[in-house]
Structure formats: structure tokens, C-alpha cells
């Protein structure tokens, strides 16, 4: 409860200075590597997807460097574990800026993305978002932001189309886990399905990180729903499917591309059979994606998850922009990326990439897949 003597002061300022001096200081960037910041949850609840996306980014970087880098300079990732915590994300963003990162291919969580954007904006970074899908992100109006994944309502609208128009289902249930992306998908699904004339018989909420969704499953059973739209993380979606079948509920599951993840199929097991996933085109449809799967398998010894292709594309977008403008100049690169059209679009492994003024993809290419015999098989566009 008391203030120490001046001599003692010296001790803790010393301590503070030592601690801070040990932090990696800014390095001036010479003509050496092009540093790309990669911030994602590498520990904590979403670590699985974070690691997956890091793998995708690493693969892209390895391929770029094998081809001689960008503008003759090697590309290097600066990794940061944001744990989906906005504060950590902001610190990492600031660290990127301080350590000479020129562009960021970052973020799985919307909160983390929104916390980093003001810092990226201040530093003028080129920012490609491959995983955070909240519509608040393009809403920030940052003109150097480009998103390689669907955004906001898109998957919900498309899934509602599939459920009502293609599959002819009229009684639908929806569930979300109260995470930003999930809520937007679920709301869009409900809105669009109602517009198409279907009835939403149940809209439920579960908690991310829970293992038991039986209470909700029993509600689904009682609701008489023909289909359930679940945009949960694949772990929860997998468990949910399993528990549906355990309780002998036969509703059709429809999910966004989260269910394309091999982990969904593994967790749900036989219960995944028949589940629909609306997703970016997969290897069956795109030759480039086929190469990606093969290379990923070779580098990491397993099949890629659903998120890896987006981060892979994100790195390539940055590289392509710098290469096209002939220098590491974010203003020019952003201008060039904004100038792309449907005809001049970059060919990503998730489909053609060109952007609206707000940085979102004008029309995300969705295909429909269905789980059959333990694999996701192409059904239609």
C-alpha cells in the first residue's frame, strides 16, 4: 500500500525497459523479402481453422518462392496468433506495421478483422481478407481491402435458394451459434427462404464450444422441419448432424462451405450422409483447384480443409497485384485490383476474383455438394 523509495523505482523502470527492449524492434526493409502479415487464431477454440488457413498461405508462399518470388524478391509470412481476440489482433496489426509488413493476408474472425482495419488503414497496408465474412468489414470503407471469400448474406441466400427452389423443401429450420458470420448467414437464409414461400418452423441458437446439442435436436424433431440450415463451425455442425441421426431425426442438413471440411465428415461420420454444402468450386470442377489439393497433400500429408483455398488465394492476389504494377506500391496495387473486371479477373482456385468498390466479390461462385459414401460430391451449380 505504499510507495517505494526512489532507488526501488529505478528497479522497476529498469525492468520495464529491459522487457520492452527485448521486444523485436522495427527493421528497415531493404530490398529483401516482401513481408506479408498473416494473423489468425493459431491457439484457442478456432485453432483448427487457423492452422488450416496458415497451411494454405504457406503453400502459396512456397510456390511463389519456388518460381523466383515476386519482382525478384522472396515472399515471407509474418505470422501472428490473434486467438480471435480483437485486442490481440490490434497488437499484431501494429507489430506488422512496425516490422515492415507491406500487405496483410489475414483474419478468420470478424472481430479480429475489424480491430485491425483502422491500423492497416493508418499504415496504408494492402489487406486481403480470406476468412472473416461479416458485412461490417466492407462497411468500413477501406479502399485497400479485398476479400477472397463470400461475405455477409451470400451463403445464406444461396442456401435458401437451393433448399426451396432446387430441393423443393417448404418447412425449414435454422440454427446459428451467435458468432458474427453465423448470425448473418442464418438471418439471410430465413429472410430469403420466406421470400421464396417457405416456412421457417424453427430458429434456434447453440453455443460454440459445446458438445451437446440434443436439446436443439429434440426441438427439430418436434418442429417437423424437412431441412436444417446450419452455418456453425464444422465441429458443431458435425456433432449436430450426429445427434440428429442418433435421435432418429431425418431432416436434410444444408450448410455453407464449412461442411466441405474433411473434419465435418469425420466428426459426423455416417450421419453426414446426404448433407448438402454450398461451396466454392472444388477440385472436381477447377483444374487449378486440383493442383492445389495435390500440392497441399504433398506438403502437409493430409487433405486441405475448407478454409485453406481462400488464404492460398489471398497470398496469390497480393503477389499478382505487386507483379502487375511492377513494384511494391500499395496505392498502385489497390488501384490495379479495383480495375479488374469479370473478363480480366484473377483465376483463383475458389473461382474468378475481381471486386466491387467495397472490396467484396461481386458474385461469389457457389456450387452444391452432397455427402455420399463419406465424400462430398458435386451436385450442381
Amino acid at each position: 500500500m505504499h510507495i517505494p523509495a526512489p532507488a526501488q523505482y529505478a528497479r522497476y523502470f529498469g525492468l520495464a525497459l529491459v522487457a520492452l527492449a527485448l521486444l523485436p524492434a522495427a527493421r528497415p526493409h531493404a530490398a529483401e523479402p516482401i513481408l506479408i502479415g498473416f494473423s489468425a487464431p493459431l491457439t484457442g477454440d478456432a485453432a483448427g481453422s487457423g492452422q488450416e488457413s496458415l497451411n494454405g498461405a504457406k503453400l502459396a508462399v512456397a510456390e511463389l518462392n519456388a518460381r523466383g518470388g515476386v519482382l525478384g524478391r522472396p515472399v515471407q509470412l509474418a505470422e501472428g496468433d490473434d486467438r480471435c481476440d480483437p485486442k490481440d489482433s490490434a497488437i499484431i496489426a501494429q507489430k506488422f506495421v512496425a516490422s515492415g509488413v507491406v500487405a496483410a493476408a489475414s483474419h478468420y474472425c470478424s472481430g479480429a478483422a475489424l480491430a485491425a482495419i483502422p491500423i492497416f488503414r493508418d499504415a496504408g497496408l494492402l489487406y486481403v481478407d480470406w476468412g472473416a465474412v461479416s458485412s461490417k468489414i466492407p462497411g468500413t470503407g477501406y479502399d485497400r481491402l479485398f476479400i477472397t471469400i463470400y461475405n455477409g448474406a451470400q451463403p445464406g441466400i444461396y442456401a435458401a435458394d437451393i433448399a426451396v427452389t432446387k430441393l423443393g423443401l417448404k418447412k425449414l429450420a435454422v440454427v446459428d451459434d451467435r458468432t458474427p458470420a453465423d448470425v448473418e448467414f442464418a438471418n439471410a437464409f430465413q429472410k430469403h427462404a420466406k421470400e421464396l414461400g417457405a416456412e421457417i418452423v424453427l430458429a434456434g441458437h447453440v453455443t460454440q464450444g459445446d458438445k451437446d446439442f440434443n436439446a436443439f435436436v429434440t426441438q427439430v424433431k418436434g418442429s417437423g422441419a424437412q431441412a436444417l440450415f446450419t452455418s456453425n463451425y464444422y465441429a458443431e455442425a458435425g456433432l449436430l448432424n450426429r445427434q440428429l441421426r442418433d435421435q432418429q431425426v431425418t431432416t436434410v442438413t444444408i450448410c455453407p462451405d464449412t461442411c466441405m471440411d474433411p473434419q465435418f465428415l469425420a466428426i459426423a461420420g455416417a450421419a453426414a450422409e446426404g448433407a448438402y454444402s454450398v461451396s466454392q468450386p472444388q477440385a472436381d470442377e477447377l483444374p487449378a483447384a486440383k493442383d492445389f489439393v495435390a500440392a497441399y497433400q504433398k506438403m502437409f500429408g493430409k487433405a486441405p480443409g475448407y478454409i485453406g483455398p481462400y488464404s492460398y488465394d489471398a497470398i496469390n492476389v497480393i503477389a499478382a497485384a505487386y507483379a502487375a504494377v511492377g513494384k511494391v506500391d500499395n496505392e498502385a496495387a489497390a488501384k490495379w485490383l479495383h480495375g479488374l473486371t469479370k473478363d480480366t479477373a484473377l483465376k483463383g482456385i475458389t473461382g474468378p476474383l475481381y471486386w466491387k468498390a467495397d472490396g467484396t466479390l461481386p458474385q461469389f461462385t457457389f456450387s452444391v455438394y452432397q455427402a455420399k459414401g463419406g465424400h462430398m460430391q458435386f451436385v450442381s451449380h
Binding site: 500500500m1 505504499h2 522497476y12 520495464a16 521486444l23 524492434a25 485486442k87 506495421v97 472481430g111
Partner: protein
């Protein structure tokens, strides 16, 4: 005022540090904080310093709750979140108020939630309080996620403007950094001063022994509520600044883990220690940053560090000194002549009627009648003893009189006031002080502070005067210490003023407890077996002390098993058996009373327990 000071205290007088005004002592802190980012010119470091500043604030607030008042709060971050969301909602989501208007509201709201949570739960045991606060923290987080209309729901609220402070507008992160540094210094200064004041001591007494604190006139519930509210308010200050620093709020920022980080800062730094909190905040913010390059091993290393620190620095990195405050304050007391008078209990005795009256007091515990229909009176200046076999209900009667256990039926009057349902601290303030059968001192505090505890209800300095060290507060502090030293001298303990109470030998602990009770300037002193375990010499001293009280217009009610002692000292004696009054009268009358003799000798089995 001539008081012989103990040696240690005199040695301390040579230090000139104490004469440096508090605010100047923070100058090095301010300079260092200012120099660091300028020196290093690195935005990353500036941001880390900013977060250290925020966590220092949080740590200081938590330190009040857990370090000063000893309350387990594991949901502390909820208050931080409430304030952050208030700022976000008012300045961004609804855009109806500038920062300078929203800020006090946010802080008040956080404090109000502290009171709302605290009021029904602060009587709970520490571990239950921990559970309740975990629950509250989670409920708050779920509210942030699910109250979409106010909180923006899962994605939270974005585009929060930089603070508009009225006088000047904060535009850049650099300026905000300055605001946060200033805030951290101000809060550090505030908590330090508060800790080193009457309020801070009140918390320490409450933390150390709630029952004893209550019995000598400290409103422990109020003290705890105050700690909770202040802690929450400080979290509110930090939360408001956090929202503008981030320019966004989202539920992920207010998880249980964040509460735990603040807890770790306080415990790791050293509970109750101001520099400890600062060191703790520096470590807990910069350690994870230093470990960033170890990526996946980061949390493993952090975990190992926590375990090692617990094992090898269990008192914290910078523990709080135990008795420095008392020494310093005692010095202040002799340097300045006391100018403020301490308050005395209500009115002077005028009537010749009884001071204390107990009418038909009964107390049932479950099916047992611990007290049945007991009547008792104590007149001014009288020495009354309460005797009876073990289990006769004597201590229960004292507990009823001092308010620790309210009677099941019956009434109590003291000084012509009804005190039947009064709380112990009110009764103490009215002029009944007590000691305990099993001695309840504030063991981890100094002897001087123990006595000063008795003066708590006779002094009045509040938060504001403590923080600003107003002249009235300084005079009152000086009066408290000089009076405490006087009281210590009365019981012959002045040489040990700065020792910790639990280091005293048994007999001196008894004397100290009496001195503490006398410090409250009682009209009636209630002693529970004061002679138990005393040597012959000590017993004689005690007897003389009690007789001297007579001269000071203090009545005494005591329980004692030593019959020689009782017979020698008492004006009157009450005898209890099985919760009933079986006799009353002068020592002679009681000694010859039939029922008394039977109770003590008649049935051998009574004597055995």
C-alpha cells in the same frame, strides 16, 4: 503531546522521502512512460505501453477489490465491458453523446452494476463470491452477444470515435496514449492514497477479520460495497478508454480469460502492492508479446511461468510491505500536532438509570434454547460479571448484546435507545466495545494499526478527502495515530507498535485487544474471559486496568471463570445456567445462593465439559 516513540519509528524519521509530496513521486513514472515511445519510435511498442496502461488501471481497480478488501472477484472484466459498451453505444451505435458526456455515465453504470452485484452477495463467503462473480461475468458476456439492439450483437459496434474531452479533441493514437498514461497515473495515485488512508485500513480490517472489524464499529458491508463499486468504477474508466483505443467493441474482448489475466496481474504482482500491480501489468502484457515468436509454445511457456512464479514468488513479484504505512503515519503524528478532534459516542450520560438493559432475551439455535428469557442491567461505571458453567449461554448473551447474533425474542436498550436489531458496528458506535474469548486481532497488521481500528468509527474522512489529503484529513490521521500511541502506552505496548499483531505473546494479545476496544471510547466494555491464560502478574495488571476504567466513566461487563478474580472485581454478578438466569446480586449474595451452589457443585456432570 509527549509520547515516547518506539525506536524503529525514530529511525524512520531520518528518511526525507516521506516529505516529498505524493504527486512528485510519480514524476519518474510519467517521464519514463513519456520517454519510452519517443525513444524507440515504434508504434508497436507504443501500443504495448498503451495496453500496459490499461491493464495497470484494471489491476489497480482489482487491487482495491481483492488486495485491499480481500474479495474474490473472478468476473471483474464484466465492468470493463459494461463501460466499453456504454461508450460504444452512446458515441457510435446511437451517436447521441460525445465522449465527455458518455464517459461519466459509463463509469457510473459500471459502478452501479458493482453495487447491484455486490449488495446481495457480499455477505457470502469468499469462494461463493468467486462463483457468483464468474456467473455474473458470463451473464454479462452473453448479454453483450445477445442484446443485439443495444450491443450490436455478435459483431459488436465499430467506428467508435476518438475521445472528445470537451477541452480538447483526441485525434491520434499518440494523443490517446497520453490520455491513457495520464489515466493510469491518476488511478495509481488515487488507489495508493486510498490504500494509505482510513478507508484503506477499513478494508484491511474487514479483510483480516470481518467479525472483529464489525464488532469494533466498522460497517463491513459498506466497506465491501465501496470496494466493489470503486473497483467497478475504475474498470469503467479503463473500459471507456479501451473502447476508444480499439475504435470497436466485440464480445470476444470480455471473456473469462480476461478476468483471469487481471487477477494474475494483481496476485503475481503482490496483492495490495501498488508497484506490484505495475510490475504485474508489465509482465502480463509484455511476456505474451515476447513469446510471440514461439507461436504454438507460447501458452505452454506462460503456463510454466505461472506455476514457477506461484512456487518461487508466492508473495508476488513486488509484495506489499506489511507495516510501512503504520510507521509513516505514526511519524506524521508526531511531526504535526493533532488539530482535529475525534468524535465521541453520542450523548453524555445524564440519567442515573441503567446504561444497558436486557429484557427477556431468548436465543434459539435450531431446537436448542441457548438463552431463555434473560434480564440484565448494567449501570454507568459498574463492573458486572457474568458467570455460569460451560454452555450456560454466557457468550451467546454477549453476542446478543453486541449485535453479532440478534435475539430470537426480547429487547435490548442502551442509553435509552433500542438496539435489539442494530448491527454490531452501530452498537459499537453507540458505545459498546468488546473483546473475544478466542482473541480476534488483525494478525497480519501492525499493533498500532490494530488500535487505530478502534478509532475508525470515531473518524470520518471519506474517499475524496483521502485522495486529496485535505488538511482536515491530515489532521484526523495525525489524531488517530497519536491517540493510538497513547492507548498503546496505557497497556504498555508502545515499544512494539510496529510489530505484527500475530507475533505478540498471548498475554499481550489480550491487552492489545482491550486497547483496541478502548480506542472506540466505549461507555460499556464487554470482555469475554479476559483473564483466561494470563499469568498471575498479568492478571493483577488486568484487574488494575479494569478498575481504572471505573474512573474513566466506563462500565464493564465481563465473563470469567476465575472466581477469585470475579469476586474481587465485580460490583454485581449474574449467574446463568442452561441459558437461564438463576441468580443475580453482589458477590456475597451470589456466593451464598442456593441455586448457584447447586449449579456449580450439585451435579458433578455439569462440571465435566
Amino acid at each position: 503531546m509527549e509520547i515516547a516513540l518506539p525506536k524503529q519509528v525514530r529511525v524512520g524519521l531520518t528518511s526525507s522521502w516521506q516529505s516529498v509530496p505524493g504527486i512528485i513521486r510519480y514524476l519518474p513514472l510519467a517521464l519514463a512512460a513519456a520517454a519510452l515511445p519517443e525513444l524507440l519510435h515504434n508504434l508497436y511498442l507504443r501500443d504495448i505501453c498503451t495496453y500496459i496502461g490499461l491493464y495497470i488501471m484494471l489491476g489497480m481497480g482489482m487491487n482495491i477489490v481483492i488486495g485491499y478488501a480481500g474479495l474474490m472477484d473472478l468476473g471483474y472484466i464484466a465492468f470493463y465491458g459494461i463501460a466499453a459498451y456504454t461508450i460504444a453505444a452512446l458515441t457510435a451505435e446511437f451517436d447521441i453523446a460525445p465522449f465527455w458526456a458518455a464517459f461519466p455515465l459509463a463509469v457510473l453504470l459500471a459502478a452501479a452494476f458493482g453495487v447491484v452485484l455486490g449488495a446481495p452477495t457480499l455477505r457470502l463467503r469468499p469462494d461463493y463470491l468467486a462463483m457468483v462473480t464468474i456467473g455474473f461475468g458470463e451473464i454479462a458476456r452473453l448479454a453483450f452477444v445477445n442484446l443485439d439492439a443495444v450491443t450490436g450483437g455478435p459483431p459488436g459496434i465499430t467506428s467508435i470515435p476518438r475521445p472528445d474531452l470537451g477541452i480538447f479533441q483526441v485525434h491520434t493514437a499518440d494523443q490517446l496514449y497520453w490520455v491513457i498514461v495520464a489515466g493510469a497515473i491518476l488511478i495509481t495515485w488515487f488507489t495508493q492514497r486510498l490504500g494509505d488512508s482510513r478507508i484503506g485500513r477499513g478494508w484491511a480490517f474487514t479483510r483480516d477479520d470481518e467479525i472483529a472489524a464489525e464488532a469494533i464499529g466498522i460497517d463491513t458491508v459498506r466497506m465491501k460495497l465501496l470496494a466493489f463499486a470503486l473497483g467497478a468504477a475504475i474498470a469503467g474508466v479503463a473500459g471507456s478508454l479501451f473502447a476508444t483505443k480499439m475504435t470497436m467493441v466485440a464480445p470476444e474482448s470480455f471473456t473469462w480469460w480476461e478476468s483471469l489475466i487481471v487477477l494474475i496481474i494483481v496476485v503475481l504482482g503482490g496483492m495490495g502492492s501498488i508497484p506490484g500491480v505495475i510490475v504485474g501489468a508489465i509482465v502480463m502484457v509484455s511476456l505474451p508479446e515476447l513469446l510471440r515468436d514461439f507461436s504454438d509454445y507460447r501458452m505452454l511457456i506462460l503456463g510454466v511461468s505461472l506455476v514457477l512464479l506461484a512456487l518461487f514468488r508466492p508473495k508476488g513479484l513486488w509484495p506489499a510491505p506489511a507495516n510501512q504505512a503504520a510507521i509513516a503515519a505514526a511519524m506524521g503524528a508526531v511531526r504535526r500536532t493533532p488539530r482535529a478532534a475525534l468524535r465521541t459516542p453520542t450523548s453524555e450520560t445524564t440519567a442515573t438509570g441503567p446504561l444497558l438493559e436486557v429484557f427477556g432475551a431468548s436465543k434459539r439455535f435450531g431446537g436448542v434454547n441457548a438463552l431463555a428469557d434473560v434480564n440484565l442491567q448494567v449501570f454507568p461505571r459498574e463492573i458486572v460479571s457474568l458467570i455460569g458453567p460451560n454452555g450456560a449461554g454466557k457468550t451467546t448473551l454477549l453476542n446478543v448484546i453486541t449485535g453479532l447474533t440478534p435475539p430470537t425474542s426480547g429487547a435490548l436498550r442502551f442509553h435509552d435507545r433500542d438496539i435489539t436489531r442494530s448491527r454490531p458496528h452501530d452498537i459499537a458506535a453507540l458505545g459498546i466495545a468488546r473483546t473475544f474469548q478466542n482473541i480476534r486481532l488483525f494478525g497480519s497488521l501492525t499493533i498500532l494499526e490494530n488500535v487505530a481500528a478502534g478509532l475508525h468509527c470515531r473518524s470520518r474522512a471519506g474517499i475524496l478527502s483521502a485522495a486529496l489529503r485535505l488538511p482536515s484529513q491530515r489532521a484526523e490521521e495525525a489524531a488517530i495515530w497519536s491517540r493510538s500511541l497513547e492507548l498503546l502506552a496505557d497497556v504498555g505496548l508502545q515499544d512494539r507498535a510496529t510489530d505484527l499483531a500475530h507475533n505478540l505473546p498471548y498475554g499481550e494479545q489480550r491487552r492489545l485487544e482491550i486497547a483496541r476496544a478502548l480506542a472506540t471510547s466505549p461507555r460499556l466494555l464487554v470482555l469475554d474471559e479476559p483473564a483466561a491464560g494470563l499469568s498471575g502478574r498479568e492478571r493483577t495488571d488486568l484487574m488494575q486496568l479494569i478498575r481504572r476504567l471505573h474512573a474513566k466513566d466506563i462500565a464493564v461487563l465481563l465473563i470469567e471463570h476465575d472466581m477469585d478474580f470475579v469476586m474481587a472485581i465485580s460490583d454485581r454478578i449474574y449467574v446463568l445456567n442452561y441459558g437461564r438466569r438463576i441468580a443475580a446480586g453482589t458477590p456475597d449474595e451470589v456466593q451464598n445462593d442456593h441455586a448457584v451452589i447447586e449449579a456449580y457443585l450439585g451435579r458433578a456432570d455439569d462440571d465435566e465439559d
